[in-house]
């Protein structure tokens, strides 16, 4: 592995200062399960890793019905699914965080890191998008927030500017009759990168007969995770029927831009988008009914 320097910081300002100073030669270090391997395999070059785990804000994990979920960027996955109230309130997020890499990976890897690594196939990003998550960013010019669907700009690339890093994610409290699910297709049952990932969320009307609104987000079928606006349009105000679900699935299939690679052909991926969108919508509906 190439040599690099290591600095453990205790405040957001310290982190911003070091990151701004070194530019793209410095990266924040949270769980490390992506960045350490990437540096070891020569896919990324860094002069410095800035360990942000000493900053209290990035480790914060809290929920209240008014504020919703505050998820520090460095919080490892296992803390999220072990948090009873959060697990009960956001099962669609738990779907994703319990799939990331296996138990030992979940002991370190964070949702923030998964998002910042910006793999098109990241498991947590579609779940964040369909929950309406906002990314809290700190940088030399202060703080800003952008929606999760705008965070990734290309494979391995994000909207972060020089000196900026992700501090936390915020997800609103689920409204009544809200349900969400994340499903992915992999050839084995764990440990694989998603061939296709689909996050779906719905808000049903009070008698559960129709959609008030819905969101569908896709992973691994475009250069970035994809919010499918046309699928949302296909759901809003429509009957909660198989026909509507099918229309949303077709919209998702049309929006997908999959490639052929060793994990799947474009044709197979497009087929799976349809299958998983239907399944995830049905799962989201079921959860919405149970809330």
């Amino acid at each position: 592995m190439q040599a690099f320097d290591y600095a453990a910081v205790r405040s957001v300002d310290e982190a911003v200062s070091l990151l701004a100073q070194h530019g793209d030669q410095a990266r924040p270090l949270a769980g490390g399960t992506d960045i350490i391997v990437a540096v070891r395999e020569g896919r990324r070059r860094v002069a410095m890793l800035v360990d942000i785990k000493g900053i209290p804000e990035v480790n914060q994990l809290s929920y209240d019905p008014a504020q919703g979920l505050t998820l520090g960027a460095a919080v490892p996955c296992y803390r999220i699914y072990e948090h009873q109230e959060i697990a009960a309130t956001y099962p669609g997020l738990i779907d994703a965080v319990s799939l990331v890499g296996g138990t030992a990976i979940q002991g370190r890897a964070s949702v923030g890191g998964n998002l910042c690594n910006a793999s098109p196939a990241a498991d947590t990003t579609p779940a964040l998008i369909v929950h309406g998550a906002m990314c809290v960013i700190a940088g030399p010019n202060g703080r800003r927030e952008i929606p999760a669907e705008q965070f990734c700009t290309g494979p391995g690339r994000t909207a972060l500017q020089n000196g900026e890093f992700l501090v936390a994610l915020r997800m609103p409290s689920p409204p009544p009759h809200f349900g969400a699910q994340y499903l992915r297709f992999i050839p084995r049952n764990e440990m694989d990168i998603a061939v296709v990932g689909v996050g779906a969320s719905v808000v049903l009307n009070s008698d559960h007969s129709a959609f008030v609104s819905g969101r569908v987000a896709l992973g691994a079928v475009a250069p970035t995770p994809l919010l499918v606006e046309t699928a949302a349009a296909a759901l809003a105000g429509k009957l909660a029927s198989d026909e509507t679900i099918q229309q949303a699935a077709e919209a998702a299939q049309a929006a997908a831009r999959p490639i052929d690679d060793m994990r799947g052909t474009a044709q197979y991926r497009r087929h799976l988008v349809g299958v998983l969108t239907r399944r995830a919508l049905r799962g989201a509906i079921q959860r919405a009914k149970e809330r």
Partner: protein, 753 residues
């Protein structure tokens, strides 16, 4: 030996002798070896699948502080173009040497070109980037059928096809064409009422042992070379190393560490000569380790293949003829297991007319090495799937069909020899009688498949010595590295003869200077042959101890008998001496007692397996879920049943991985895209149910306790069994392995389901 013998130790399940070390992390595997002054080696490997090396410039690497030496093939003696025997196969020294460090050509991406020794592994890695190699890149050939064409790029410009035993002048990528023939297949197919002919392809698959290769070498100023490593055969390493380094066997001592899996992949030389020459150049011990990507790209996976099978049967369900065309990829140098595949493909059956043509073909992929019943899984995938189709056409249950056509003692194998006492029929009957087969499988998209397999097993050579301790325990010195519990199974056989408990026999696995010659741990031979040697050494101990008891009683040895650990005086029934009591008096009765034996047993028993699998196919995604799996096998006599079950379960699961997801993905320039456990997808615990085993014991008359080799045959049936089950589940037949979800889905969609 009578099948109703009651054993004291054989068939029990003692804790293995090396168990505590292994569950506490104390056991020393090859990468764990430490010593003073150790340097770390790393290997520079070709980025190209096919290229000529124009020049290598190591000067900048040598100049890096911390780098102590750089070597290339120039540091090995010129390799002789001759073959040496390794026991389980022969190897050409020139190819072996060139595979260790490339000469004028690189033949696969990952082919070693140079190596560095430095004070830390990270520095060694940095130094690799400073070595400049000037390559002339050549077009690669990556498919076996393409490589057989006259227009294909040639890998080895001097390779001439050996056809049907004769050298020819044809320079090509086809190293050999071999044929087995009996009867007349044309007549046989004419007699058949149903004939099925199908083509199959299989992708390259790796043994997947969790421990990467390692070697530590110390070349002393007096010319003595010591190697510490994880290997399946310390003596086999010694035998290869001597000619490759141009030194004598006497100068080499190989000390085997514990080994983290091999399955055939840790027999050939890879790192040892490199570590050795780096040590010679630096005067320090040098440790060289592979990382996971290097294991995939630069060791010995098993061949991708193309197989065409044609089988014909009469309407009463009797096989009339079978024909196969089998082309195996050998990788960069000749030597695929095509011969073994040919020996196994139709061997479960008694077929009067057989014709098998087999081709060993070089391609720009790593040189293949044995992988657990090498060549047989590919072959069984083809033949057992065609048998399934025949059964469907004939309306016959596939296990009843096998009963009707089973090879038995006296049946002639397609490669010539006749079967001795074998247990194939018994495995099929046991499968038919099993709870699994008798339980109906219900529901949509589920299916049950069966398949059989054969592996011939080998005997080869083993040496054991047994030293009697003053307290009546014994130390057993053997030379078979313990990959799967063989310390226990060997010790138990000695214990049985000596009338001792398994714990009272302390086995050690010794190095090449400390024990007689032993062939590899492989070929399903260790419990059979090293166990045989242990039995003979124990009998030697009993002979000597009988003499001591006689001396104590002042009688002649023929008047002393030994049974169940006790010496009896035939003429004085009340006189008895235990083994321990005699052991306590060795010093006074003539000195220490050491029993020894060296064996090369001929009575090898072949192994048969019949597997049953129930699975579900998700018709929307093509994903296969294994619901239930039963492995039935003739195991001869299970010395330690837990470890026999373990071999069956482990081999079956490797076969399941092979069937469902394992393959090398190659770019069109011959670069492996998935050289990592992330995308080379081996089964995890979540992908499997429990693996049930049924041990059928048909003793092998060629071994005192009836042992048959058990380790390899379990990997032979699974791919075919799964293919047959997928057909029952969703009505599509796959003829390419792996049958990954995308491929299954493509077939389902093509069928309009």
């Amino acid at each position: 030996m009578a099948e109703t013998t009651t054993y004291q130790v054989i068939g029990t399940r003692p804790i293995r002798h090396d168990g505590v070390d292994k569950v506490t992390g104390r056991a020393i595997y090859g990468a764990d070896v430490q010593m003073a002054g150790l340097l770390h080696g790393k290997v520079l490997r070709s980025p190209h699948a096919h290229a000529r090396i124009r020049s290598i410039d190591v000067s900048r690497a040598l100049a890096l502080p911390g780098v102590k030496a750089v070597v290339t093939s120039a540091d090995l003696p010129p390799a002789e173009d001759r073959t040496i025997q390794l026991g389980e196969g022969a190897v050409n020294l020139k190819y072996l040497s060139n595979n260790i460090l490339a000469g004028d050509k690189v033949l696969y991406k990952g082919h070693p070109v140079a190596a560095v020794a430095a004070t830390s592994p990270h520095l060694a890695e940095e130094a690799l980037a400073l070595i400049h190699v000037d390559y002339e890149v050549l077009p690669p050939v990556l498919d076996v059928r393409e490589a057989m064409q006259d227009s294909a790029p040639l890998l080895l410009e001097n390779l001439k096809t050996k056809s049907l035993g004769q050298e020819t002048d044809k320079v090509s990528n086809v190293a050999t064409h071999t044929q087995f023939k009996s009867g007349d297949v044309d007549k046989g197919f004419q007699q058949a009422d149903v004939v099925i002919e199908r083509e199959f392809t299989t992708a390259t698959v790796h043994q997947g042992y969790i421990e990467p290769h390692n070697a530590t070498a110390l070349w002393n100023p007096d010319g003595q070379l010591t190697i510490w490593e994880s290997t399946q055969g310390a003596f086999t390493v010694q035998r290869q190393l001597a000619p490759v380094l141009g030194i004598s066997v006497a100068q080499i001592r190989v000390i085997p560490a514990e080994i983290g899996g091999g399955f055939g992949g840790k027999i050939n030389l890879y790192l040892e000569p490199i570590a050795a020459v780096l040590s010679k150049k630096t005067g320090h011990p040098v440790k060289v380790l592979m990382n996971r990507a290097e294991v995939f790209e630069s060791t010995g996976p098993t061949p991708g293949s193309y197989i065409r099978v044609k089988m014909g049967a009469t309407k009463d369900g009797r096989l009339a003829a079978a024909q196969a065309y089998m082309a195996y990829e050998a990788g960069g140098y000749p030597g695929s297991p095509i011969g073994a595949g040919m020996m196994c493909i139709f061997t479960p059956y008694d077929i009067p007319n057989v014709l098998i043509d087999g081709f060993d073909v070089v391609v720009n992929k790593p040189k293949t090495a044995p992988y657990r019943a090498p060549g047989a899984t590919n072959a069984a995938f083809a033949a057992e799937t065609v048998v399934d189709e025949l059964c469907e056409k004939l309306g016959l249950d596939p296990l009843q069909f096998r009963l009707r056509n089973a090879a038995t003692e006296g049946t002639r194998r397609p490669d010539g020899p006749t079967h001795p006492r074998i247990g194939y029929l018994e495995t099929v009957q046991a499968a038919l009688d099993s709870d699994h087969y008798r339980t109906p499988l219900e529901g949509p998209n589920v299916g049950r498949g069966v398949a059989s397999g054969y592996w011939f097993n080998v005997g080869l050579q083993s040496s054991v010595s047994i030293n009697v301790n003053a307290d009546g325990s014994v130390t057993l010195v053997e030379g078979s590295t313990d990959i799967g519990g063989t310390r226990a199974s060997i010790a138990m056989q000695a214990a049985e003869v000596l009338g001792l408990k398994a714990e009272e026999v302390r086995p050690i696995v010794a190095d090449t200077a400390s024990v007689g010659y032993n062939d590899v741990t492989g070929g399903s031979r260790t419990t059979f042959a090293s166990g045989y040697a242990a039995i003979e050494a124990a009998r030697d101990v009993v002979r000597q101890m009988t003499e001591r008891a006689a001396r104590i009683w002042k009688v002649e040895p023929p008047e002393v008998t030994f049974a169940n650990g006790v010496f009896h005086h035939t003429n004085a029934a009340d006189q008895r001496l235990t083994f321990k009591e005699v052991a306590a008096q060795l010093g006074r009765t003539g000195g220490p007692v050491t029993g020894r034996a060296t064996v090369a047993p001929r009575g090898v028993g072949g192994a048969f397996a019949t597997h049953i699998v129930d699975l579900h196919v998700d018709p929307e995604t093509g994903k296969v879920t294994i619901l239930r799996y039963t492995a039935v096998q003739d195991v001869g006599k299970a010395i330690h049943p837990s470890y026999v079950e373990g071999q069956m379960q482990g081999g079956a699961v490797q076969g399941i991985g092979w069937a469902l997801n394992e393959e090398y993905f190659y770019s069109n320039t011959g670069v492996m895209a998935n050289a990592s456990f992330l995308d080379y997808r081996m089964p995890t615990s979540l992908d499997l149910p429990m693996i049930d085993t049924i041990l059928v014991e048909v003793p092998n008359p060629g071994h005192p306790f009836g042992v048959r080799g058990v380790g390899e045959v379990p990997i032979v049936p699974p791919v075919a069994a799964i293919a047959n089950a997928i057909y029952k589940a969703v009505g599509v037949r796959l003829r390419h392995s792996p049958m990954s979800p995308g491929r299954v889905m493509a077939e389902i969609l093509a069928q309009g389901k």
